[in-house]
Symmetry: D2
Subunit: 353 residues, 4 copies
């Protein structure tokens, strides 16, 4: 239950960063959708470490195997297991961390929660857990595309640099996945300076769903906003989420933020495509606050497991800014959330014989 | 399922704003806790309409009846039904709205989702649904208090006015529930101007849990951050949530935001009391973006149900700024979320005979 | 969670037999179905105590109030609360039972489980909890009828007396709800002798769903057989359930029990309408073993709460054979289970835009 | 959701009989339990095909890999993936079945439900799906053993031959897993005659949990009886389940079946160790009706997918009586169900800090 997201399109990720592999089990995928391993692999390649000079140099091919639930390229309606083996693990990089709790990391909380801990690379709290999310999202995208839903996303802020431009055709053309080619260069320069200082920096990413029909989501506890809030804040290193106008609306008046609707189109999108928890036909717009990565090369004061403190520099291969790698994860979680909402609406109104 | 929050401490709200009543059914409350109707009523009175000059003038006594699950002031471990009857409904105020879709409201999305609609006051999408949440939260608070957890909250921004002061003893002493007596006056003056202009204004509220043990929450899909994200964004009129440093951390470096821990206390709280999805012993800090109320007296362009548009002024009794009334709701959802996390930790580690 | 049945059509019952009332909250009822309180009341009247000389003489009118989720006779798609107040409680009948654990009853297990106990009439373990089930089932029947599903049921065994006749038009014409008028007389005579001996007797009831489409149910953990197994064995006093041929098939060969199907109809129904967990178009047939009621007037040896034993005769108004009152409950649980399976099939295959 | 069993100890099986493999993902296993692959393998070997002359001759080594959730022989509290590769598949045996629906099988219902079908050996409706259940059960047994719970089981009826003897030390010493060495010989002789006639035969198995504490289970929808009913009837080829006295109690009086309890021990066990849905300290006793296997070598009339009928003899390697192979599966499901009930009781009463 604790590693599961979704109620009808139910995804459960598994795997430690230094164990036998990572992946996802999906229960609830409807039958009859065409999907190939290549559809999944393409998204995994976007999340994969070692892509560029501004991401971690850990090398993982992250090759996916679809173990079950797909037969001759068609979903069977049965559970789909997707498995990715771990390869480049270098567990010994973590030996110096065995006896300390890294600041900002889950080391201490994990140890107190479970009483045991796999110290090699964070275990389940590693970013590697998101492999399964991206695989599940790739599957959801395939299904959503059949009803015209398309998902895009990118990095819109790094440090105190922002952009208001949204040219989604640009995001795969620059290392930071920014929807603004010019801003991308500034973002990257800042990240390089940060990396050279053995530090990390935060940012904001935005994910958008286009073509979503009216009527997905629920009015109270399962508002689509709420499901998206859970989806996004379940991604490692995220500490904030906003829909549409978000925090920026707080300083405005209702007469400004009530999206005027003439029965066909909207004059604005402060609601982020969701009114009363239910999609309104406008683009679904979600922004996520990504904290500076907690793994940094700079020496830091750490609590020792046996008491006392120690100053340690964390060896290993870190991301100075994880935004470009969070983009495909957040897109995946948006896809998964919409898939679940779609199936709910089918249950509520669908016309099976 | 869609009106349910929580997995072990499971609350399901029910009731339309103009039907037979509203309330909550709680499945999963452990036995043996002492609770009186007065514990519930006290919190409901904080949420109730008609409290002051800056809230809606709808008069509801919101008297709660505990129908089941409590015997002689002690929880039985069985489902607890709490029921509040509707009294001051004035459904005819809504007659002019029968044939139009109010901008920003759920009228249109609701109609498209369900095909039917109770036009009297929003039905389930009314703020009145939160009565049940507050009742459930009051129960959770009673239980949490037995392990030393205390919940506070207040309004920390209205429009573009903010405060950094957090004197929680002040919140019940001013109409806007601000933890800063001086800022409260400025906030209230702005709200009064807004009300006189027949408009509404947004704000930010902050809720904090003190005394939470280390180890509550989960590392992946059910991160405590994620559960809080869902909890807060399921509250009507919220469009953003952040934990600890939130969006403000994006502009900082990891060397600044990694909360240094010496084994006993933290030098900062950018994590908002949650590291890797699990409580770390620090205060749990959550901020929520509250949009300007969508119900305003100003004339607005609305789409007609039968096609075309119309300019309508919404009659009725509205809140110019709903922040002071969202505070007890957000506190309740924080309590409910922690209660659920607590029970999960008991299942995982608890030492039953 | 523990008082909830169903995943998409989710019913949660509440209420103690001697508290403020009993009932059910239904989350997941689709919108647009026509339902009146009378549809619910008719079924509750079939379950109600005090119907005849062979049932308990406790007098409860069991008048239902639909508090939420229905507006002008149409379901809104929102949670439906149905509440029945307790009236004829006579709690003092139970005073002598305060300090002993009745054999076969849940008194001891309840006390050990919860540490607290409402000794007045069994609390949640009272048969009165089934009021909520019957109300939920009545709602499900209304919806199922729109797709041609009809549910019938009756008592087919009392003590060692059985019938193979299934004339469902007879069941409401005799006190024991037997689908065989002649057998009914023998059943009733046996029950009267048992009642006069201050004892109780068991029996078997059968419930049948006619007109169920092919394709409802799931192939593994959520086989329709499994869901029905849970549904039936969650009814108080049931200790066995069988589908179609059930235990009787164990002595036969596959060449006898494989229901030959020519593409249109079946030559037999050993599968009870369910093959591989999924409906096959034949009648769904379920039989339930109802144990002799544990409340009997005969003196019995009981363990004392404070240690030692005592011989006590249980005062109060008991059912010598609860089969006729379990029939509407089992029918209700069959309806609820099918409703849930229907909604799942809609989610899996349903063609909403 | 449809392939998931359990609420806190949540197991989801996956895999088609002729795909990349089968197995189980377990979410909710508490940390700190010692478990080796050998603990799992031992149980899988009991379920494995090709064990003896009276089971199918399909040869599968069923070697398990624990992919995640266990580190250095200790459970981490994270999801545990256990994977078994398929090896001896002989898919071409099934080619003649591509265009017909086998009687009693899920072929027709599956095709109608999903619109697609993996015709090679039943896909998910194959008995091979139970590999995952047995692996999960083995894990649950390891944990339950630490609190003194032990699970045994065996075949107590084949065709019309029965035994009342329960010498559990005998079950692994004979091919049919009968707790009565003498009856085992008669059972086996009957099965051999049935096999030679290219037919199959049913039977009854009994599984028992010893040493279960008082207080596990719930009083209403989640009665332990109900959970066990779902658990058992989710096993392929089962069509009935009874707890304790079961159907046999129906012919008795309450004065006979009320298990007299003196505060320490019971004089009988008609309740099967469960009173009011909650364990009472006595042995938990469950019997399961296993239908004759639907795969038989005798020619049978089958409906053709394209219309019309055809007489076909099913080639392949079948079990004439699947009871001995259902025994470890039913034991596993009993273990899984108790594990879930245990964790619930910990959540309800457990005393974590």
């Amino acid at each position: 239950m604790s590693s599961t997201f979704g109620r009808l399109f139910q995804i459960t990720t598994f795997g430690e960063s230094h164990g036998g592999g990572v992946g996802v089990l999906i229960d609830g995928m409807p039958p009859g959708f065409h999907v190939e391993a290549a559809d999944i692999q393409r998204e995994l390649d976007r999340r994969r470490p070692g892509q560029s000079a501004i991401t971690t140099q850990r090398q993982e091919s992250d090759a996916v195997e679809i173990v079950s639930g797909v037969f001759e390229g068609v979903t069977l309606g049965t559970p789909i297991l997707m498995l990715v083996r771990n390869t480049d693990q270098r567990s010994k990089d973590y030996d110096t961390l065995k006896d300390v709790f890294r600041p900002g990391h889950a080391d201490y909380t994990y140890f107190e929660k479970y009483g045991v801990r796999d110290h090699r690379g964070g275990g389940r709290s590693s970013g590697r857990e998101t492999v399964g999310r991206v695989a599940a999202g790739a599957l959801a995208r395939v299904a959503l595309a059949t009803v015209g839903v398309r998902i895009v996303g990118g990095t819109v802020q790094v440090g105190d640099l922002r952009t208001e431009t949204r040219d989604w055709s640009q995001t795969e053309k620059n290392l930071i996945r920014c929807p603004d080619a010019e801003a991308a260069e500034r973002f990257i320069a800042l990240i390089e300076r940060t990396r050279d200082a053995k530090d990390s920096i935060g940012g904001v990413i935005e994910v958008v769903a286009q073509g979503v029909p009216v009527g997905w989501g629920d009015p109270t506890m399962s508002k689509l906003d709420a499901m998206l809030g859970a989806a996004m804040l379940s991604i490692p290193a995220t500490k904030g989420v906003e829909i549409g106008g978000g925090f920026g609306m707080c300083a405005l008046n209702g007469s400004q933020t009530n999206d005027v609707f003439d029965g066909e189109s909207y004059q604005s999108n402060f609601s982020g495509g969701i009114a009363g928890g239910i999609t309104n036909g406008n683009e679904v717009v979600v922004r996520v606050a990504v904290r500076p990565a907690t793994s940094i090369g700079k020496p830091q004061l750490m609590a020792r497991k046996e008491g006392g403190t120690e100053t340690v520099a964390i060896e290993g291969r870190h991301d100075p800014c994880i935004c470009p790698r969070v983009v495909p994860v957040a897109e995946a979680m948006l896809a998964v959330t919409l898939m679940d909402a779609w199936l709910h609406q089918r249950a509520l109104r669908g016309g099976v014989k």
